[in-house]
Structures are given as structure tokens and as C-alpha cells.
């Protein structure tokens, strides 16, 4: 995993700087630098093998079914880029320490920076193309965080959003492209794909792959027409601009093109598209840079221009051009990073980046001036600086390139771009450092501390060394990375040297310098002319597109999201009915041949009762209390049906649930309106008149009912082979009980039941959460207005109180009896829990909330928790004996006097079920009654020293209130 660690180390190390932030800026910087250094050391351990020409591979499978693996490989190109990322990263970290303000959260900044570093490293050493896409998007995300670092400023936020939309969107294109590429190549591993260039180029998918991959690369590397995000990303702090937007991230697109060069390059489409895009970008970027007044904007457009240069070189498709591109990546990274840092220093010291307000800084900040002038000379391509060499190679390659059978366009335009490049470099260097100061600056500028200019100086060392002795200092690196870029092709013959004799490239270069001198002389009038030209504003266009998308989304959402439950439900049920109808009419159907049961008179009576009460409900549902009575009748008939058809457990459950549900609905109805108004009113969504709606709903409901009835009849009249023979056979010997339903619940399918009681408990807790703060705010005020006269003369009739209290022990005994017999006869934890809960609720109904709550000695929350815990621990107990979760065991024990009794662990599990059910019911209903009480009595009086709305009323002594308080 050594290779993977190179990328993972910064990603994981990103957590360290925030942790170290209490120790001060220096400690944070040291931690971030240490992480980078460690990654660099790791990279160095793999370097010798790569230098020997080997390819280091490493990784594990991730999702092999998708072709996704966590695999990395390191060759010359990867090593080159990884080293660039880490070394410049290190310098940026040192620089940022002095650059960032004292009150800025440096820890967080370095965390983001390391996050980016890890993602970027991931891109350059990923073997799996899908993994590469993951890292690709990670750089977009971390870049978003870094650009928006000063999120107080709108430019920061807008720039970050624009960069994310453009590069993130490009990432999606890239993902599609990589999926197709992997499909076409038959492998998602780059090391494999690179060997199958012929297969990919011959594939019918080649063009889509090319376009999608280019979409990803061009957005990331800011090629026209996607170049507009990069200048806006300059809202980022300068260290970020240095690192992401000149040296590394924007080169990810170039890297990708270089990486896939052996696979995708060499075709007509590649040449035409990539060359043209690069050429246009080179020209447009340089042209705009000439007129920008913000130092960072000049550098940003210059970066765009140089990225275009690299893209164009790759587009040529010749090995020598690819080598030139790699060389220029190195050169550009050094001088442009130095320039950005220099611009940051100027900004830091003078408080402005406007070139019109700057000038003559050379005398005030000699070190910065010297460094910037060197870097600007390299940018201009002046001999003895590294920029000159790669520019010569570019011009040489351009000289030999014919575009659309014409010899002149590429050389001419390349020379023009070189000319512009010299001109804006001169304007930058001269405008800031030479001449006289043009405006009074806020404070006296001077050279910054060494921490800020030293990284610049370090970056300029290779600028000068390579510029003077290219073969000595860059020959090996360029050969290594170049060879890795062009793959199996032979490295072309080239010679890195200052002097090649009088070549076409030299003539073009001289022409560029001469032209630039003329252009610089006439810059004043030209600038005024340029200012009058109508230029397209990319940001306005981008904002318009974003606004249009937002409008479209909002319109769609408004159409779909009407906030009308009936509408949603009508659509859902309607669709279900239509699908069912399609199935029904699409196939053959007939009633089955299974013998039916004879109809009995009681069954007919029950059916008529059910049918009439059910059908009466729609007619009278306006009267809610009456509706509730009818619902209870229906529930009763359903219980009887269960009893009739050999399901005593179900009948017991249904009837007890019926009682609890009715109490619940009565409680709710006490607060809700007693009548449902007729369905007129001003429904926001209405459209259909009430009668039309009734008919439409009737049609949907009728169709649904018919369908379900037909389906049920069809199933019931067909024979089947149940899978429950096993359960019946194993119930006694395996589960130790004769009530198969209960044994299934607590044993065979215990895991299901465990899930059920958890769901039940969550429902209870959700109820508590919903009502907990209902006694405050708008809800509480409405409760107070609902306050009504007590309707019954005697809210707690003595007879009821006495009977309920007398019944309590009896009911509890019945509950316990039902619980214990459950394993062998109808009963069990669910039913027993409901019976006990009803017995407790009866006390609330008879004697009132206060009386009962004061005497309830247990906390319903704890009861629920205990239930889930007991059931869960019982299940876990099986693990202790080496059995699977929830395996039950049982045994017979002889107890003196009582005799032989049977004990099963399933019973313990059932106890958990029992406790959870009691807790859920009591908690839910008690909570509603608490709200109820507020409606009856109004807000608690202020004189009471009992805080919180859930406490007992003021009339109650504090001591008696305590048990109630536990509930809250």
C-alpha cells in the first residue's frame, strides 16, 4: 500500500492541522509541511524503480463487479506530476504561513490545502480510471472550499460556485467518458488501457469517448469556451491561486490529455479539436491578459494562455510536441507560481493589486522586484530563462504543423501568441516595479519577511538553472516524463540547448520580440480602443444560465409539489390501479378450482354488518364521533373473522388494538374539530368541483376495491404449498412451544419481531418529540383558545373510578396469564402488553391524568428502552453460546411444590416485546392526555415554582409532582 499512501497521507493528514491549531500558526504550518514532506519521502522511495524504467503498481479490488478498484501506478509522468505537486505544495505552505492574516483559521486552511493535495496526487497516480474520476471530483470540491475561503465576500462565493459548476460538470462528462473508455478498452485500469490504444481508436465509441474526455479536460484546464471560471477563481487567497490555479489543478486537464495521449491522440478528430482549442485559448488568454488591470487577473489570463499552449502541443499529436508540452508544464509551474507569489507579496505590502495604482516598486522592495522580473522574463520567453526553451520547442513544433492543409495558420498564430505573451509580461513587470510610483499607497511598502520571498526564490532556482543549462538540469526529467507520455513510441531525437543555430523557431521568436516592442509602445491608444469595444461578459452569461436553470427547476417543482396530500395520493393510487388493470386485462384470468368453504348464517350476518357500517362511513364521515363508532364496529367484525378462520392470536390482538386505537382517536378528537366541513372552501389546488372530485375519487376507490377483492378471491380459490410445514413440525421440538404463531414470532422469525418492536418504540419516541414542544409557541396559544367548558357534570364518575381501580389487579393478572400461556396457547407478549396497557389507560380515563400520573411509579421511556434491551440481550445471549443471534433454547426444570416447569429463552425475548408494547402505548396516550389537560385547564399558573410545561400543575404540591416530572 506504499503507493496508495502517497495520496492517502495528505487526505488523512488533513485532519491534523485543525487539531494543532491551538498550538499556534507555526505548529500548524509545521504539521502541514511535515505531512507533505512525508508524502514526498514516500514518493522518493518509489522513485528509483521508476527511474530504472519500471512501473510501480499497487492496490486492492474495491467493487470488482463495476470494474472499480483501488489501484495505483507510478510511471515517469505520474512521478513528474506528483513531485511537482508535493514540492510546490511545500513552498505554498511556507508562503501561506506569512500570507494569511493573524485572525484567520490557519488550521482549517491547511486542512483544505492538504485535502486538495491528496486529491491531486490521487489523479496523477491512479491506475483505475474510475478512481481517477473520484479524485478528479475531489479536487473540484476542495478547490470550491479554497476559492470560497473568504466567503464573506460575494466574489469568493460566486467564484467558488462558478468553478464548482464548471469543473464539477466537466467531471461528470469525464466520468461518462471514462466509463465508455473502459468499456471500449475492455479494462478500467490505465496501465491496461495504455497498451490498447489501437483497440480504442478503432472502436465506434472513439468519438464519444474523445468528446467526453475532452469536455472534462477542457473545463478543468480552462480552455475556451470554459476559460471564464479561472479568473473568477482568483477571489481565492493568493497561496491557493498559486497552487491550484497555476501550478497544479488547472494542469490536471493537461495531465489527463498527456496521460491518454497514447490512447486517444493521433487521429484526425483529436488533431483538429485539440489543436484548435489550444491555439484559440492561447491567443484569447494572451489578448485579454494584455488589458487586465488586476495583477492576479493578468496572471490568470496568462495561465489560460499557457494552458492553451500545452493543449495545442498535445493536439499536434507528434512525440516531439508532447515532449515539449511536458517540458513547458515544468517551466510554467515554476515561473507562474513565483509570479503569483510575487503578486501576493505586492498585494500584501501595498494593499492593492491594481496595476494602474502601482509603479516604481523596485526601489521600495528590491528583493521582490528582482524575483518578479526574473519570473516575468521567463514568462515572456527571454533567453537564459526556462520559458524561452519550451517556447522555442513550441514554435519549432508549430512550424512543422499544417492545419487543414494550410502551412501558415498555426505558425502565424503561435507567433502572435508569443508576441502577446512578451507584451503582457513587459507590461506586468514594468508597470509594477519600474517607473515612478503612481498613487500614494496606504502604507510604506517594503520587502516581506523571508517566509514569503524565500519560496519565490526557491522556485526561481530551476528557472535559471534550466534556462542556462537545460540538458544538465532538465534533460533526464523531460526524457523520463516525455517517454511515459508518448508510451511505446520511441523518444524523438531532440536536443535541449540554448542555441540551435538560426532555425525557423528563432526567427519566429525574434519576430515576436520585435512585434511586442511595437505593441508595447502603442499600448496606450490600443487600451483606449479596447475599452470601447463591446466584449462578451462570460460571468453575465453564466449567471443568466444559472438563473434560467433555477427558474426551470422552480417551475417544475411548483407544478409537481402542490402541497396537496389528496392530489399526491390520488396520483399514487390511480397509478397502482392502472398498473393492476393493465395486468388484469393483459392476461387470462379465472376463478380457481379450490373447494370453497360453505357459507354460514353468522358469517352472512357479520358480512352484512361489515358492509353496511363500512359503506355508511363515507356518507357520515362529516360526523367524526359517529364515524369512530362505525370504525369500531368494523374492527370488531374483523376480529370475529380472525376468530372464525382459526386465528385466535390475531383475534385477540385485533380486539385489544381496537380498544387502544379507539381511546387514542377519542383523545385526539377532543382537540380536533368535531365535524369535517363540506369539501368546498378555497383549496389552493382545486380545479375540480367537489362533486366531480367525489366521483373521481369514487371511481379510483371502486376500481381499487374491485381489484383487491378479485385478487383475494383468485388467490383463495387456488391451492398452494405452504412453506410453514417446517414451522409446524419444529415448533415443539425446536422452539419448545405449541402455539406456532407465537413460536414463529419469538423464535423462527425473532429478528423480524425485534425489528418490529424497535419500529414501535421509534413511533412512540416520535410522538413524544411531536408533542413535547406542543405546549409552547403557536400550538400552545391555540390550545388555550380551544379551552372549553367541561362537558360532563362529573368528569370522574365515582362508579367508574371504583370499578377501574378494582379491575386493575384483575386486568394485570389476566395480562400476565396471557403472557405466560402465550408460548403454548393463544397469547404472548404483544397481546399481554396491550391488555396491561389498557388496564393502565383505564386508570387515566377514570381518575384523570394527575391522579394516575402521580401514582405511576415507572417511566414509560425506560420501559421501552428496557424492552428493546431485554429482547436484544436475549438474542445476543445466544452468541455467547456460540449460536447465531436470537437462537433460542429451552429446558424443563423441576421446582419443588410447583413441579415440572418449562423455561425458554424465547420467553425472555417475549418479555422484551411485552415491555416495549406497554411502554409505547402508555407513553403515546399519556402524552396526548398531557396536551389535553392543557386545553382543559389553560396554561400553568405563574406562581408555581415548577419549571417547564410538562410538569404537574401548580395546584399540586411539588413532592407529589415529582413522579410526573420523571415522565417529562
Amino acid at each position: 500500500m506504499r503507493l496508495a499512501l502517497i495520496a492517502l497521507l495528505p487526505l488523512l493528514g488533513a485532519m491534523l492541522p485543525p487539531l494543532a491549531s491551538r498550538a499556534g500558526r507555526d505548529a500548524v504550518t509545521a504539521v502541514a509541511a511535515l505531512v507533505t514532506l512525508t508524502a514526498l519521502a514516500l514518493l522518493a522511495t518509489s522513485a528509483p524503480a521508476v527511474l530504472r524504467g519500471e512501473i510501480v503498481q499497487d492496490g486492492t479490488a474495491w467493487v470488482p463487479q463495476l470494474g472499480l478498484s483501488f489501484s495505483f501506478f507510478l510511471d515517469g509522468l505520474g512521478l513528474f506530476f506528483a513531485a511537482l505537486i508535493l514540492v510546490i505544495g511545500l513552498l505554498v505552505i511556507v508562503y501561506a504561513r506569512s500570507y494569511l492574516g493573524r485572525d484567520e483559521p490557519v488550521g482549517r486552511f491547511f486542512a483544505y490545502l492538504l485535502l486538495f493535495q491528496g486529491a491531486m496526487l490521487g489523479i496523477v497516480i491512479s491506475d483505475n480510471v474510475l478512481l481517477l474520476v473520484v479524485f478528479w471530483e475531489l479536487t473540484s470540491l476542495s478547490s470550491f472550499l479554497l476559492i470560497g475561503w473568504w466567503h464573506q465576500a460575494p466574489e469568493g462565493r460566486q467564484g467558488a460556485r462558478m468553478a464548482l459548476v464548471v469543473t464539477g460538470g466537466g467531471g461528470l462528462l469525464l466520468m461518462a467518458g471514462m466509463l465508455l473508455l473502459g468499456h471500449a478498452a475492455g479494462s478500467y485500469e490505465l496501465s491496461e488501457i495504455l497498451l490498447r490504444g489501437d483497440v480504442v481508436r478503432a472502436s465506434p465509441l472513439y468519438l464519444p469517448i474523445l468528446l467526453l474526455v475532452l469536455g472534462g479536460a477542457f473545463t478543468k484546464s480552462a480552455q475556451v469556451p470554459f476559460h471564464f471560471w479561472l479568473p473568477h477563481a482568483m477571489a481565492a487567497p493568493t497561496p491557493v491561486s498559486t497552487y491550484l490555479h497555476s501550478a497544479t489543478m488547472v494542469k490536471a486537464g493537461v495531465f489527463l490529455l498527456a496521460r491518454l495521449w497514447p490512447v486517444l491522440a493521433g487521429t484526425e478528430a483529436w488533431f483538429l479539436i485539440v489543436t484548435a482549442t489550444g491555439l484559440v485559448t492561447m491567443l484569447v488568454g494572451a489578448w485579454i491578459a494584455l488589458f487586465k488591470t488586476d495583477l492576479k487577473a493578468i496572471l490568470a489570463y496568462s495561465t489560460v494562455s499557457h494552458l492553451g499552449l500545452m493543449t495545442m502541443l498535445l493536439g499536434f499529436g507528434t512525440p516531439i510536441a508532447a515532449v515539449a508540452c511536458v517540458f513547458h508544464v515544468l517551466n510554467h509551474a515554476t515561473f507562474k507560481a513565483a509570479l503569483f507569489m510575487g503578486a501576493g507579496i505586492v498585494d500584501h505590502e501595498t494593499g492593492t493589486r491594481d496595476i494602474r495604482r502601482l509603479g516604481g516598486l523596485a526601489g521600495l522592495m528590491p528583493i521582490t522586484a528582482t524575483l518578479t522580473l526574473i519570473a516575468a522574463a521567463a514568462m515572456a520567453g527571454v533567453p537564459l530563462f526556462n520559458g524561452f526553451l519550451s517556447k522555442e520547442m513550441m514554435l519549432e513544433a508549430a512550424w512543422h504543423t499544417r492545419y487543414a492543409d494550410l502551412a501558415w495558420p498555426v505558425p502565424l498564430l503561435a507567433t502572435l501568441a508569443a508576441l502577446l505573451s512578451v507584451a503582457y509580461s513587459a507590461r506586468y513587470a514594468i508597470g509594477v516595479f519600474l517607473g515612478r510610483p503612481r498613487a500614494a499607497l496606504a502604507h510604506h511598502p517594503h520587502d516581506p519577511p523571508a517566509g514569503m520571498w524565500l519560496p519565490v526564490a526557491v522556485l526561481l532556482v530551476p528557472v535559471l538553472l534550466i534556462g542556462v543549462a537545460p540538458a544538465l538540469f532538465a534533460g533526464d526529467v523531460v526524457a523520463l516524463a516525455g517517454q511515459a507520455t508518448i508510451g511505446t513510441a520511441a523518444l524523438p531525437g531532440y536536443h535541449l540547448a540554448l542555441w540551435h543555430g538560426v532555425t525557423p523557431a528563432l526567427i519566429m521568436s525574434v519576430a515576436a520580440f520585435a512585434g511586442a516592442a511595437l505593441l508595447y509602445a502603442g499600448l496606450g491608444p490600443l487600451t483606449r480602443l479596447h475599452a470601447r469595444l463591446d466584449r462578451p461578459d462570460a460571468k453575465a452569461a453564466f449567471d443568466a444560465v444559472v438563473a434560467a436553470v433555477v427558474r426551470a427547476c422552480r417551475t417544475t417543482t411548483r407544478r409537481l409539489h402542490t402541497e396537496s396530500l389528496p392530489r399526491y395520493l390520488a396520483i399514487i393510487t390511480g397509478v397502482v390501479v392502472l398498473v393492476g388493470a393493465a395486468g388484469f386485462f393483459g392476461g387470462t384470468h379465472a376463478a380457481g378450482g379450490r373447494a370453497t368453504l360453505p357459507v354460514s348464517l353468522p358469517a352472512v350476518v357479520a358480512f352484512v354488518l361489515l358492509a353496511t357500517t363500512s359503506l355508511a362511513v363515507p356518507a357520515v364521515h362529516g360526523m367524526r364521533l359517529l364515524t369512530l363508532v362505525l370504525v369500531s364496529v368494523v374492527g370488531l367484525v374483523v376480529s370475529l373473522a380472525f376468530l372464525q378462520f382459526s386465528a385466535p392470536d390475531l383475534a385477540l390482538t385485533q380486539i385489544t388494538v381496537e380498544v387502544v386505537a379507539t381511546i387514542l382517536l377519542l383523545l385526539a378528537l377532543n382537540l380536533l374539530p368535531k365535524r369535517t366541513p363540506s369539501e368546498t372552501g378555497t383549496a389552493r389546488t382545486a380545479g375540480a368541483a367537489p362533486t366531480v372530485r367525489m366521483l373521481r375519487d369514487g371511481a379510483i376507490a371502486g376500481a381499487a376495491g374491485l381489484g383487491v377483492a378479485a385478487l383475494a378471491y383468485a388467490v383463495m380459490t387456488r391451492d398452494f404449498t405452504p412453506i410453514s410445514d417446517y414451522h409446524l413440525a419444529q415448533s415443539k421440538p425446536g422452539g419448545g412451544g405449541t402455539n406456532v404463531v407465537n413460536v414463529i414470532l419469538v423464535d423462527f422469525r425473532g429478528f423480524d419481531t425485534f425489528g418490529e418492536i424497535i419500529v414501535l418504540s421509534i413511533a412512540a419516541l416520535a410522538i413524544v418529540a411531536l408533542l413535547d414542544n406542543a405546549l409552547r409557541g403557536a400550538a400552545a396559544r391555540r390550545l388555550d383558545t380551544l379551552k372549553r367548558a367541561v362537558e360532563a357534570a362529573d368528569p370522574h364518575p365515582t362508579v367508574l373510578v371504583v370499578v377501574a381501580r378494582a379491575l386493575l389487579p384483575l386486568a394485570l393478572t389476566v395480562g400476565i396469564y396471557i403472557f405466560f400461556r402465550g408460548h403454548n396457547l393463544p397469547g404472548g407478549g404483544f397481546i399481554a402488553g396491550l391488555v396491561v396497557a389498557i388496564a393502565l389507560m383505564m386508570q387515566y380515563m377514570a381518575a384523570g391524568f394527575d391522579w394516575t400520573a402521580a401514582r405511576r411509579r415507572f417511566d414509560a421511556h425506560a420501559l421501552i428502552g428496557a424492552g428493546v434491551l431485554v429482547a436484544g440481550l436475549t438474542g445476543l445471549g445466544a452468541l455467547a453460546f456460540g449460536r447465531p443471534f436470537l437462537t433460542s433454547s429451552y429446558g424443563y426444570f423441576h421446582v419443588p411444590l410447583i413441579g415440572e416447569i418449562e423455561l425458554a429463552t424465547a420467553m425472555l425475548f417475549d418479555t422484551g416485546v411485552f415491555l416495549a408494547v406497554v411502554g409505547t402505548v402508555v407513553l403515546s396516550l399519556a402524552r396526548i392526555s398531557l396536551v389535553e389537560r392543557r386545553a382543559e385547564r389553560g396554561p400553568p399558573s405563574r406562581s408555581a415554582a415548577v419549571p417547564g410545561p410538562d410538569r404537574a400543575t401548580a395546584s399540586r404540591p411539588a413532592a407529589a409532582a415529582a413522579p410526573v416530572g420523571r415522565e417529562a
Binding site: 396537496s564 396530500l565 389528496p566 390520488a570 393510487t573 370453497t596 357459507v599 358469517a603 362511513v617 363515507p618 364521515h621 369512530l628 370504525v631 374483523v638 378462520f645 382459526s646 386465528a647 385466535p648 392470536d649 390475531l650 388494538v657 386505537a661 385526539a668 382537540l671 365535524r675 369535517t676 366541513p677 369539501e679 372552501g681 383549496a683 382545486a686 376507490a701 381499487a704 376495491g705 383487491v708 377483492a709 378479485a710 383475494a712 383463495m716 405452504p722 415448533s731 405449541t738 402455539n739 406456532v740 404463531v741 414463529i744 423480524d752 419481531t753 418490529e756 419500529v759 416520535a766 410522538i767 411531536l770 406542543a774 390550545l783 404483544f830 396491550l834 402524552r927 396526548i928 396536551v931
Partner: protein
């Protein structure tokens, strides 16, 4: 007998769906209760109907009805209750918060005299 059960399921479904499509929270709640009845009966009926064959193991008995749907329906009944309780409370809180129990985003006209008379029911 199967026809009666199937018809019952159908009626319960139809009433449930119709109530579900009403504009106020209370009928919707009642609708879900009806649908619960229908679905529980439907699931139960998947084990076919049998009379006097409860799944209580007894050496003297040879025929039992299918216990599996029963176990499923038993938990379904309890869960239905949990769900009903939750939506009742949800409706209650929504009413207390907004002063209306409409679920379609509309508003009711002020109650008429006849409606007020019904308050006592």
C-alpha cells in the same frame, strides 16, 4: 365463504381509498385504518381460509391452518397501530400549529350555524 371475505376486503379497500383522498386529516386517518383492516385481512387470506384448525400443535390433531401469515399479520396489526398513533399525533400537532386540519393546502370557510350545532355531537 371465500366470496364474502373477498368482498369484505374489497369494500374495506374501497372505503379506505375513498377516505384517503379527502381534504381533511381526520378522514384520512380513518382511511388508513380501513386500509390497514383490508391489507391485514388480505395478507391473512393468503394462507387460505380454514375453520377450526388453529395452529396450536396437538398430537390429536392432524390439520392446521398456515401459521406464517398469521404471525406476519399479528405484527402488522401492532405496527398499524403504531403508525395510526403517529399520524394522529402528526395531524393533531399540525392542527394546533396551523389552526386547520386541511391536508390539501386549502382553507375552510368559517363554520356555519349548522356546523356549530354539530360541535356538540
Amino acid at each position: 365463504m371465500e366470496l364474502l371475505v373477498a368482498a369484505s376486503i374489497g369494500i374495506l379497500t374501497a372505503v379506505g381509498v375513498w377516505l384517503l383522498l379527502r381534504l381533511h386529516s381526520f378522514p384520512v386517518i380513518v382511511g388508513t385504518i380501513f386500509l390497514s383492516y383490508a391489507v391485514n385481512l388480505f395478507l391473512f387470506a393468503m394462507g387460505r381460509l380454514a375453520i377450526d384448525q388453529p395452529p396450536i400443535v396437538d398430537p390429536a390433531v392432524t390439520a392446521y391452518t398456515d401459521p406464517l401469515p398469521q404471525a406476519l399479520v399479528l405484527t402488522a396489526i401492532v405496527i398499524s397501530f403504531g403508525m395510526t398513533a403517529l399520524i394522529v399525533v402528526l395531524a393533531l400537532r399540525a392542527f394546533l400549529e396551523t389552526g386547520t386540519d386541511r391536508v390539501d393546502g386549502g382553507r375552510d370557510e368559517p363554520p356555519t350555524v349548522a356546523d356549530r350545532a354539530g360541535e356538540r355531537l
